[in-house]
Symmetry: C2
Subunit: 267 residues, 2 copies
């Protein structure tokens, strides 16, 4: 339908999971079309994504975006897309064992991203955040105190074991681009927490800063192709979710035991 | 350390995520050791898993079990393990596009399994179920009414589009084994819901029954190697979580509006 080598189908107004694919395509200077951001009159927009989800691209039906089309290949699932794109984009070693290792790391990024999503949607993706605020607050507290240190500590150790500049060692891979996105997203969503945690993860910060300074990534980040973070994506900044942030005035259920005040009217 | 071609490192007392790997190894009649179930005195047990998580098997550090070792290869992440095992076990076509498609389907199984886990742990994996019961009840209600029909409906359509006996068409793949496990697990955890939903997914049921009747799978299921479902694994049967099941007597926070009774002392 389009002339480009790669067609990305993802929601046009958020970074979301599609951003991990966009970063890989941008770093490689790949010839791609971000179809969701093409006007509807030219075959793009949300309508194009919905057609893909209905199966218009053939029998390999995607469950959800992002979806990548490259010639005859149609592939969904962020980590699978990157596993497929890595070799032609030069963003992963061709050695099968190294390629599998990069993919394994990306799947752990995927797990982290799913947990980030569930901080604001702990009950259901079919409810608004405002309908699950007390649970979101509780889940976020545990996520920030237990899971973020665990995930970042894991990647910190992996970079250390690799003994080089990047997570696989000497050469940049798509995993580094994804770790940059994770650090950016966490810093946007949870600035107080990440300010406090940052000194513990110098290697993660070095990888992230290294990615930011790649010429093509820097150019991308400065362009309008980079959609700003917002409260529709995976990483969302709701100040009331961070411990120490402003209290959620609505939706509290429990008595605020620490100071002895009574529970709110929502209790 | 062991003589077998494959070493699986997974918790010895649950099916969990390791079961998707066990089913593939069993169907193929593979030469494997389930290291966690080997006595500690012979180098197995939980201690062996903890050593692997500390990095004893080399620089490709796993984030969590299951972990598979095959000669020099050490790989974690269930879907990545199956992607690796598929070709040597004959459980996926060798055509790269078909292999990628099978992997993409497995990643959607992974997403579903993560959502199943979060029905009983919607707030934190570091808390007990008993500490997050009200949230578990609310999340489960949405999971069963929205997500289970969406996931099963997706796989039902994929099987239909494949036009054959199995999810990839004519030949059994590891994805079929995983779909069997999903259907078994859901039926164990949510029997009332699955009884009601089953007629809507005849192809999923046919795949599942087909897997159950494979000679090696039937033999495995009848053996003590198949750990029974229990309330320590991913699929858990807590009757109070199913709508229409017995009410959760503890942990309710809200007034029971339907019958006008006051909130419990936990409110």
């Amino acid at each position: 339908m389009f002339e480009a080598a790669y067609e990305l189908y993802y929601w046009p107004e958020i970074q979301g999971r599609g951003e991990f694919v966009r970063l890989a395509l941008e770093e490689a200077g790949a010839d791609y079309v971000d179809v969701g951001r093409v006007p509807r009159s030219k075959g793009g927009g949300v309508e194009a994504i919905l057609r893909v989800l209905r199966g218009e691209l053939g029998p390999h039906l995607p469950f959800a975006p992002p979806v990548l089309r490259a010639g005859d290949v149609v592939v969904a699932q962020t980590a699978a897309i990157l596993h497929f794109l890595g070799p032609p984009l030069g963003l992963v070693p061709r050695d099968p064992a190294e390629r599998l290792w990069a993919h394994q790391l990306q799947l752990t990024v995927t797990d982290l991203v799913a947990e980030v999503h569930d901080t604001h949607h702990p009950i259901s993706t079919d409810l608004y955040y405002a309908q699950q605020k007390p649970e979101a607050r509780r889940r976020t507290r545990h996520f920030l105190s237990e899971r973020v240190p665990k995930f970042l500590g894991y990647f910190e150790r992996v970079i250390d074991l690799a003994g080089g500049r990047w997570v696989l060692g000497k050469r940049l891979s798509y995993v580094d681009l994804s770790l940059f996105q994770v650090m950016e997203g966490l810093a946007y969503a949870f600035p107080r927490t990440m300010d406090a945690l940052a000194p513990r993860f110098p290697r993660m910060r070095a990888v992230s800063e290294g990615v930011r300074q790649r010429p093509r990534i820097a150019s991308y980040l400065a362009s309008e192709r980079r959609i700003p973070f917002n409260t529709e994506g995976v990483f969302r900044h709701y100040p009331e979710l961070e411990p120490g942030g402003p209290a959620a005035r609505r939706g509290r259920r429990r008595p605020a035991r620490r100071n002895g005040k009574p529970a709110s009217s929502q209790a």
